[in-house]
């Protein structure tokens, strides 16, 4: 037994699930650990309020901010292992609570952001249970009413928080009879079967801020969500005599939104309308799949599969649906794939894949919502989508684990677009649709992974994509891309690694244009809608434990996104092209620039066998900027002003640990989080403007216990 294999020996009668087939009691070894931690927060004054969602609350909600001082006490980590003979794990439990609160300051938000796993294994039975509870929050957003001419009605309260809480379980139970029962008929054992049952249940509640125009007012309100998701499924897997592996799976998902349906009339819309607002449908999704894999020794492998899925609206219908008699609303997805690998000779091998996807929107379109004008369909309707992808690659492996490869892949998308046929309707005509009916893309690439020197690992890819047809203006043609990852482990006695990565790509789309004129065959002026994009992303990282007691980590990265295209204005919305002559005008180039750069510096120092300290500093700078110069630039600049992102995030962390004795350690830590935001902010008449710049100081004290304490 190893030096760390210390544990209390307990004689346990296993529970029914873990009951050994032989019916004998087994001797188990128990190992456990638990970390209790208290965190005290000091938060910038404007955010030190339970009613305010600050930047850091979006992902790390701090309960009880209104108390002095806010305190969290939680079980941040726990584990429990039950090990059988030969240290074979019979039961493993893991708990992680990045944010939790046992409620000592009176919070009703206990155990937020918590996950747990339970794994059980016992001779042919495998149990995998997961639990998750998490909360995310949305920042409150308001528009700038200046010059809009709109009356803004804010129905939210300054005390509203917009959040989602999600609590769920899911699990899998697998059963392999040949592993559990001895003396099974040989034919059955050779079948290599496995039965799997799956299930889950997830509850989500909260509310989100909905913003929309309800003429003549611009409205802000909190819309509730009360969602339930239940899943159940199962599958059968057989591998008869190892000839092939066949898996059959069926899954059903039930999604229900329990929040009441909002209507314009209910929100005071004038004239009163029964149109729904933010309606989320109840749905059922049923999926069936079959997959097969055949391996031909070390020389070849073949894989294929077929999947069909139906997503259907069930239960409640909106008032509009009921009025229109629209009851059937479902999507049918079909997918098939085939892939194979073949070792040709020596280090030369080939692989190829084929994939086909189809999406069929089976909604009943014989209703006034689609072709009768007056609030019905306006733009193109995507009736069916068929996507085919194929690829092939030649790979040459040499001198151990070095390889170079060259390949090509293609993608073809065929869309059945239906346009409104009623000329009395507002309708977008095919000439000015934003989606085209076909995409064709072919990419060729070369790829390598080399280990030219001991410790040096180089991966690189260079590719070029030609896209004769594109479906959307942002799909890139004439696209050249490359990536490289280099890692070097220094030839010294202690670990030291320097690594770097670079990604880049640049392409354009010149397929789309706006066509002026009137009617289904407009002959007016044409305006190009060319789009160009270049992305660059690189970084370098160094990690070393070059000194006996010290580990140092440093990382830097920078990403840039450059997009250039013309702003195209029109004299009327595109859906008036039947009734009025449409004209388009290029209004000067838009240059969108986004940049983020960051660095992480840290060190860990071990004083002795009992004590250590970790310190780190993290910095992120993020910025976006639009530039435009045309007649619409005033408006765009204003939108840019509203949407501009310009911020720095600083984080400092320090943590000390000291082991008092085996099984008992103490920790103390300090965190400083600072968000420096230079973006414009707006309030409503009800809620004052809220500066997102904020900071938090957090001091933590913890104790870590393990089973060794009681031995």
């Amino acid at each position: 037994m190893g030096s760390r294999q210390i544990g209390a020996r307990l004689r346990l009668m296993a529970c029914l699930l873990l009951l050994p087939a032989a019916g004998q009691a087994e001797e188990y070894e128990v190992r456990w650990s638990a970390s209790l931690e208290a965190a005290l927060h000091a938060i910038a004054s404007q955010e030190a309020d339970d009613d305010v969602t600050g930047f850091f609350d979006q992902y790390r909600f701090t309960p009880n901010k209104g108390t002095q001082p806010p305190v969290e006490l939680g079980l941040t980590q726990a584990s429990f292992d039950l090990l059988g003979a030969g240290e074979e794990p019979a039961l493993r439990f893991r708990l992680s609570s990045p944010t939790s609160n046992l409620g000592i300051t009176g919070s009703d938000h206990a155990f937020l952001n918590q996950r747990a796993w339970l794994f059980g294994t016992e001779r042919g039975l495998f149990l995998d249970l997961r639990y998750r509870r998490l909360r995310t929050e949305d920042l409150r957003r308001f528009p700038d009413p200046t010059g809009s001419g709109s009356v803004i009605t804010d129905l939210t309260s300054p005390h509203d928080r917009f959040y989602r809480e999600r609590t769920g379980f899911d699990g899998t139970l697998r059963f392999r009879p040949q592993d559990r029962f001895e003396g099974l008929p040989d034919a059955f054992s050779r079948l290599g079967g496995e039965v799997e049952l799956r299930g889950g249940y997830d509850v989500r509640d909260g509310q989100y801020q909905r913003r929309f125009l309800l003429a003549p007012r611009w409205l802000s309100l909190g819309q509730d969500l009360e969602q339930e998701v239940g899943t159940v499924g199962g599958g059968l897997l057989v591998a008869p005599a190892g000839l092939f592996t066949l898996a059959l799976d069926v899954d059903h998902q039930r999604f229900r939104e329990g929040a009441p349906t909002l209507t314009e009339a209910g929100l005071g819309g004038m004239p009163a309308s029964s149109r729904s607002v933010g309606f989320v449908p109840d749905t059922d999704r049923t999926t069936g799949a079959v997959r097969i894999q055949r391996r031909f020794g070390e020389r070849a492998a073949l894989r294929g599969g077929f999947q069909m899925s139906v997503l259907e609206q069930v239960s409640d219908r909106t008032p509009d649906q009921r009025t229109a008699g629209l009851n059937d609303n479902q999507l049918l997805f079909t997918s098939a794939n085939l892939a194979g690998d073949l070792k040709i000779i020596g280090g030369l091998s080939a692989n190829a894949f084929f994939k086909y996807d189809e999406r069929d929107n089976q909604i009943d379109r014989n209703t006034p919502l689609f072709n009768a004008g007056g609030g019905g369909q306006v733009d193109e309707f995507l009736d069916e989508l068929r996507r085919t992808a194929v690829g092939g690659e030649l790979v040459y492996a040499f001198a151990g684990r070095n390889q170079v490869s060259a390949g090509a892949r293609g993608e073809w998308v065929d869309r059945d677009l239906e346009f409104v046929t009623n000329p009395t309707s507002r309708r977008i005509l095919p000439a000015n649709a934003l989606v085209s009916d076909e995409t064709e893309m072919v990419t060729v690439y070369g790829r390598t992974r080399l280990r030219p020197l001991r410790g040096l690992d180089v991966r690189a890819e260079l590719g070029y994509r030609d896209a004769p047809k594109t479906g959307y203006a942002v799909e890139l043609d004439d696209y050249l891309y490359g990536s490289a990852d280099v890692s070097y482990t220094l030839p010294i006695a202690r670990p030291a690694v320097v690594s770097g990565f670079a990604r880049g790509g640049s392409g354009e789309n010149r397929d789309f244009e706006a066509v002026g004129g009137q009617g289904p065959n407009p002959a007016g002026g044409r305006v190009d809608r060319d789009f160009e994009r270049t992305e660059i992303f690189w970084g370098i990282t160094a990690t070393t434990a070059a000194w006996e007691r010290t580990t140092v980590f440093a990382s830097f990265f920078q990403a840039r996104d450059l997009q250039d295209y013309d702003l195209v204005l029109s004299n009327q919305p595109r859906y008036f092209q039947d009734a009025l002559p449409l004209s388009f005008m290029p209004d000067g180039p838009i240059n969108y620039r986004s940049e983020d750069l960051g660095t992480i510096l840290g060190t860990h120092y071990r004083f002795d066998e009992r004590s250590d300290v970790g310190v780190s500093y993290t910095f992120n700078h993020i910025k976006t900027r639009y530039r435009t110069s045309g007649s619409g630039s005033g408006g765009i600049e204003r939108v840019e002003g509203l949407s501009r992102i310009d911020a720095d995030i600083h984080r400092v962390a320090l943590r000390l640990g000291h082991r008092l004795r085996d099984g008992l350690s103490l920790t103390a830590g300090y965190r400083f989080d600072y968000f420096d935001d230079r973006s414009p902010v707006h309030g409503s008449g009800i809620v004052p403007p809220f500066d997102l710049s904020t900071f938090q100081h957090t001091v933590t004290f913890g104790v870590v216990l393990t089973n060794e304490l009681f031995e």
Binding site: A301, F333, L567, Q572
Partner: protein, 277 residues
């Protein structure tokens, strides 16, 4: 804070782990089986784990005959398990059906690069320190992914991100490391709609990109713009859409805010073809 918490996890919890060196997987010429008892003479434990948990039978089943290594005690004289060794037993698993075509397999990532067969961790996930340094509270799986996919890990701290570095979801909640992204069964939207059912429809009036690929508008690993938008508004919209000067409130002089402040049902609607409610 990323590294701080990552290193903090080192404090009294687990030691810093050395980077994974390159190991040979080729057979050792002339080696003969010696039996696990001979191995345990020296290998009392392996990185703190039992040398051969019962479910892995014995050392030489995976490492090959060990006589040469037992005589020389040189690390180079024992081989490390290749994927074939692992698949000899683990092939007929649902999650491994597509392994030979998986992106990781094609990139010459071995099973043992991610799995530590001697570990008692769930799924034998290998513990790494460098990943922990990049993602704060993330689970062991995510830290392992981050140790190689540094570029992705660096996105996880952007202002808009999935709560991965906070430990609430893992990379494997969306990705299967054992399969090919290109040949994976199912539509491109499937990964997202597994959690975001309320954006999946079926809508009466739908935004076309929603029907095809969420990635047209969203950057799932992290974004500078809110709501994981790859490009902040109005650019995310104007790169496809033209802008009417008159009517429908689109006169640039009358802009009030982001596009989605009016078109709030941007994924789809049951009542408005303009996706406003």
């Amino acid at each position: 804070m990323g590294l701080g918490i990552g290193l903090a996890a080192c404090v009294s919890t687990w030691p810093t782990v050395a980077p994974q060196p390159y190991h040979r997987t080729a057979s050792i010429e002339g080696a003969e089986p010696v039996g696990a008892d001979e191995c345990e003479v020296c290998h009392e434990d392996v990185h703190g784990h039992a040398p051969a948990p019962a479910y892995h039978e014995d050392c030489e089943a995976c490492h090959g005959p060990g006589s040469v290594h037992a005589d020389s005690e040189e690390p180079a004289d024992i081989r490390y398990p290749s994927d074939s060794d692992c698949l000899a037993c683990h092939d007929s698993r649902r999650s491994h059906l597509d392994w030979t075509g998986a992106d990781h397999a094609r990139g010459d990532v071995a099973c043992s690069d991610c799995h530590e067969p001697h570990s008692q961790e769930p799924k034998q996930i290998r513990r790494v320190a460098s990943g922990a340094a990049l993602v704060r509270h993330a689970g062991a799986t995510t830290q392992l992914c981050a140790s190689c996919h540094v570029d992705v890990a660096s996105r996880l701290e952007l202002p808009s991100h999935h709560p991965i570095s906070e430990g609430m979801i893992d990379c494997t909640d969306c990705h299967s490391p054992h399969e090919s992204r290109a040949a994976r069964l199912g539509p491109a939207t499937e990964r997202c709609s597994g959690c975001h059912q309320d954006h999946a429809g079926p809508w009466v009036f739908e935004h076309a990109p929603v029907a095809e690929d969420c990635g047209y508008c969203h950057a799932p690993h992290g974004a500078v713009a809110e709501a994981l938008l790859e490009t902040s508004q109005p650019g995310a919209c104007l790169s496809c859409h033209t802008l009417p000067l008159l009517g429908a409130g689109h006169d640039p002089a009358a802009f009030v805010s982001r596009c989605t402040d009016c078109h709030s049902a941007i994924h789809g609607s049951y009542s408005d073809p303009h996706l406003r409610r």
